[in-house]
Point group: C2
Chain length 153, copies 2
């Protein structure tokens, strides 16, 4: 995968990651940030939820996505941070025992001034072959010919 | 604020929440889910980052948003979970010492079958009067005349 803005082009794709989802971590995240009972109470979730059991907070799923993205992709690039996300969709429940991975596809690139450019990437979070979450990320990358110091690298 | 789908209508608005952002929590979240140096290394962030200091992960900001939303809004409604988010934008850095609050505005409501409806809400995360993050949430709510048991409530 590319590292500077100029290295990206539409159509590039890559798959990576293997994040094991545990009940313990679902409960830990939910108790701190999303204490709705279908994320925090395994027994009640099993008996009463429309999902048939405990599921991860959607924001926990995006956090796990980010950890894989940083470890296996962003940390090796001149990423300057993200402007935002479009079309974030939680498509399927994420449950204890799932193993998540990522599929990235570059959709579009656009310069945003002399020192940086914007890359639109489709990010799909997979559990085996099934897409459980998807989004379009708008990420800024430094241009190769820029003064690197200005980019904080 | 409303509790069932039928209680929502476009234009309703509400402000609430007071979430104190600490350096300790920024470092804790980032070390687990977003270990980029401008979220995990206060000294390097101060000296080298384009942001001029340590900032919270954008996904930490959305997690803090969710905690306020659950505590002061969703927990008193017949919410069934969210389909997704449109137009998520991280507009300003979130830093240690900030106090975040939320402004909700109902944009649109739409039935999605006999038992539930979709409510589109603009959520703005504020630091004092400044919007630091915004998004449009697509949340499902049970209809008032539904068999409550089917909704897990």
């Amino acid at each position: 995968m590319p590292t500077f803005f100029e290295d990206f082009s539409a159509g590039q794709t890559e798959e990576f990651g293997a994040y094991d989802v545990t009940e313990e971590e679902i409960l830990q995240f939910a108790s701190q940030y999303d204490p709705q009972w279908f994320h925090t109470d395994p027994e009640r979730a099993r008996e009463e939820s429309i999902y048939g059991g405990l599921i991860a907070s959607g924001w926990h799923t995006t956090a796990m996505m980010m950890r894989m993205l940083v470890d296996e992709f962003l940390s090796e690039t001149a990423a300057l941070g993200a402007k935002g996300i479009d079309e974030l969709r939680w498509r399927r429940p994420v449950r204890p025992g799932d193993t998540l991975s990522l599929r990235l596809t570059v959709l579009e690139t656009e310069t945003e001034g002399p020192d940086r450019g914007l890359v639109k990437t489709r990010i799909e979070v997979l559990n085996d072959a099934e897409v459980v979450c998807s989004m379009i990320a708008l990420t800024m990358f430094a241009r190769r010919d820029d003064e690197r110091d200005d980019c904080g690298n």
